[in-house]
């Protein structure tokens, strides 16, 4: 296991092996996505209170999960990069940032579309919505910082510190926002009406969550491969790889 991880940390090996994984991951993404959408949009019964419009949940909830999951993952990789100085870890962090920001945006947007028929407003200053918005700001700050520093390595390391500071702060921000909201106004906004969700809705939700994870993996590996090539463009193996292809 360790040996494999160690091998994976070498850019060349990473490039080769992930090239083989991507078609499989992509295929699985499409299959789970279709299955999840079929069960979610067609098979699952309408909600007894929310009718059909609850179905946006099958996009909204997995996107919100991904938005948080990716941030934690980025913090994990930044930690690895700062401690063991593994180049690939920061390649993964940098490649994840835009994806994380898009999932956050998607969660906010679908939430707002869902909120309009349910709560009668596009946006309410609810604790969860506000935390998600702040998470989007954190992602955008990270992207702006990495874009502003010219040297790739320095940018990735500086971004890593920011991500780690952010991950310490996220729980604090989340709970302070929750506290702020509960003090200002009572729970005027009802969340999912039932605390426990029915199985016929839970299964498509979980399928969609798996599908989103697979999508993330596929795309992040594609981005990371491009990033690896770009960083290693002067090394012998990249030249060999593309020199060979061109001459063929």
């Amino acid at each position: 296991m360790w040996q494999f991880l160690h091998k994976l940390a070498s850019p060349r090996y990473f490039y080769d092996i992930t090239g083989k994984w991507i078609p499989w991951l992509g295929g699985l993404t499409v299959i789970t996505l279709l299955a999840g959408l079929y069960y979610g949009l067609i098979k699952a019964p309408p909600d007894y209170q929310q009718g059909e419009s609850y179905r946006i949940m099958f996009i909204h909830v997995p996107a919100a999960w991904m938005s948080m999951f990716i941030y934690v993952l980025m913090a994990f990789w930044s930690g690895i990069n700062l401690i063991w100085n593994i180049k690939l870890a920061d390649v993964m962090t940098v490649s994840s940032a835009t994806l994380g920001a898009s999932f956050t945006f998607l969660a906010l947007m679908t939430g707002s579309l869902w909120g309009k028929p349910m709560w009668g407003a596009w946006w309410v200053w609810d604790a969860r919505l506000t935390s998600e918005l702040i998470l989007l700001f954190l992602y955008l700050g990270y992207i702006a910082l990495v874009a502003a520093i010219e040297d790739r390595r320095t940018a990735a390391r500086a971004g890593g510190v920011l991500i780690l500071v952010g991950v310490v702060n996220i729980p604090i921000i989340h709970y302070s926002v929750e506290w702020w909201n509960t003090l200002h106004q009572g729970p005027t906004v009802t969340k999912l009406d039932k605390p426990s969700i029915h199985l016929s809705m839970l299964i498509p939700l979980l399928i969609m969550a798996v599908s989103f994870k697979l999508y993330y993996l596929t795309v992040v590996l594609m981005r990371a491969r491009a990033e690896v090539l770009d960083r290693e463009r002067r090394s012998a193996w990249v030249r060999e790889l593309f020199g060979a292809k061109e001459s063929r």
Partner: protein, 222 residues
Amino acid sequence: MFQAFKALMKRDLLLAFRHRGELANPLLFFFMIVTLFPLGVSPEVTLLRKIAPGVIWIAALLAALFSLENLFRSDFEDGALEQMLLSPQPLSLLVLAKVLAHWLVSGLPMLLLAPLLGLLLAMPEPAIAALELTLAIGTPLLSLIGAIGVALTVGLRRGGVLLTLLIMPLYIPVLIFATNAVTAAAAGMPIAGQIYFLASLLVLALTLAPLAIAAALRISVS
């Protein structure tokens, strides 16, 4: 170790007093932003009283950010920062000295100006006292958190707006607890909970932020 701390603080304070003109700038900024609100929103006393905690705190937050921007700038440009990185003293301690010196010349004057602004915005007396207390705990917190962002952007030519983007989200908990305490005090409610929370945030920042600042400086300068 403590001597290095003291020496650096003394040097920074001396440097600040040699440029006395610059010292007043963040204060003026703080004052002017607050002045804009009655002009822009409404001079009506009940409304002002209601928005005063938020207005003063947001102004303090912005003033802190803008004054922080140059925390490491001149040291970075004349090479003193590299000497600090090379020195045998722990960098996090030196950084703490710089942040503390900076707070003494920028945060503390804000603390002295705040009651006047409170009066201008028609805040009741207990609220002004609470405002002072929250600023006393909160402004060092702003300096410590902000210094992380400054350290990350010190090598960049135009770090100003970027710094704001990086740091603003991290300031949100401070803003929430501080303004909440002031609003509660104005309504005659106890504020111990909010103050304790701010104080614990300060302790957390005092212990962790210097490490993050030092790590960020090492990355930025290398």
